[in-house]
Symmetry: C2
Subunit: 246 residues, 2 copies
Amino acid sequence: MTEPVEPKLPHAIALAWGLAEPPQRGPKRELSLDAIIDAAIAIADAEGIGALSMSRVASSLGFTTMSLYRYVTSKDDLLQLMQNSAARVVVPPLDEAQGWREALREWFDALVGAYRKHPWTLDIPVSGVPMMPTALVIVDWAMRAMRDLPLDPGEKIEVLLLLTSYARATAQLERDLTRAGENATMGAESTAALTEVVSEEAFPYLFPLIRDGVYAGGDPADFEYETDMLFGLERILDGIESYTSR
Amino acid sequence: MTEPVEPKLPHAIALAWGLAEPPQRGPKRELSLDAIIDAAIAIADAEGIGALSMSRVASSLGFTTMSLYRYVTSKDDLLQLMQNSAARVVVPPLDEAQGWREALREWFDALVGAYRKHPWTLDIPVSGVPMMPTALVIVDWAMRAMRDLPLDPGEKIEVLLLLTSYARATAQLERDLTRAGENATMGAESTAALTEVVSEEAFPYLFPLIRDGVYAGGDPADFEYETDMLFGLERILDGIESYTSR
DNA sequence: TACACAGTGTGTATGACGCACACAGTGCTG
DNA sequence: CAGCACTGTGTGCGTCATACACACTGTGTA
């Protein structure tokens, strides 16, 4: 009996960390975890996460549904592994000369880029404090970017939460607006309907924004991603700066 | 033939705005939309959104599954309406003397409070730019709080996005940590396992945080909600302040 | 007053889906 | 060569959302 490897890590996490010695006995495996994950990601990329079913993944690989369960304990498991794989980012080498603002911008871009590449990751419900390798790589990178900031560790984690949540939110908004551009539903049509229902009396402060098409309004192309999206980021960075130079 | 009421609003949204004249002909209705929504919310409150099925809701009301579809076109529809109902907040009367920082804090608290009261709203996938009444009430309130800030409308929306995404993220983190405290899974046990897998070489900047139990570490009770959670908010507010007083 | 018909709640049926489980075959290990 | 850990497979179960046909109800109109 060997050492109990890791004390009770959830299965997907253990797998993602590569903590699974391949079995010695029995027939050679025809599938592989990576092949399954890649196939699943391909489906999600092409048709979204709603189209992803176990049987769909299996048949796209030419195997039966149940064969997948030799590699993955549940669909949820698979989703975690997909997310871990899709969110993988390349961490640039440490540049000592780079300031923390620029470093965090670069980091933020990478995050948003990953969401753009695999938008369905936005549809995976967040499950607890992240413990997957990719997530921790991202955290490590963020901590590196903040290495010289005079913040205590708890505060850095707060900043991390701030940035990741904003990255996710902007990516989601961007996706929704893009979809609204294509899709008739939720498009200009229903936006117009809003004006009939949002009265100036009931929504005195919101009303002008809707009237002028600033809120949910007009052409989604008006949204200058690269500038609008970064406004919030710069505000966060300003906030950090003003705090640290108190 | 009467005027086509509102041009093509999604069904749930139209319902939520009360744009559905009750039918004149036919038998008296035994159910009501509100009763259905309330019953569904009760189930979600008690057992989470995973336990929520149409048949579950129906039988809790003493009706058949299909009867619900006379009031709601789909489960998704119902989820939107539940969220709209659960997120309802009481907007305090306008206090002219209140500064924008305090106003936004109050607003933020209300948001987080709603998430605390009905944590399952965190599990409802966000669908497009919010157009439900409650969401717009919240937006209106935020705009009121920012009424004197020298920001253009687009910037205010950016700030709104910043704040709502952070509120959601903190509420989610808080919930996850609370669960980790109760649940054995993801508890101290697997946190300990992290230390074995996160090496100092591979994660030089993250490693100390895990070693010292700052990240995902130690007692979840260490998380001082009321202070830690507000750190990020104060940074956002700082960022706005520093920007407006450029 | 009678009736057409919009609208009600119901029962049955369908097609996905996740996954448990038993099975027959496979190839390492003693 | 025997045992057995492990493979991919097939069947089957329970759950779920929802389509549809049905019998009934009450209101507006002929």
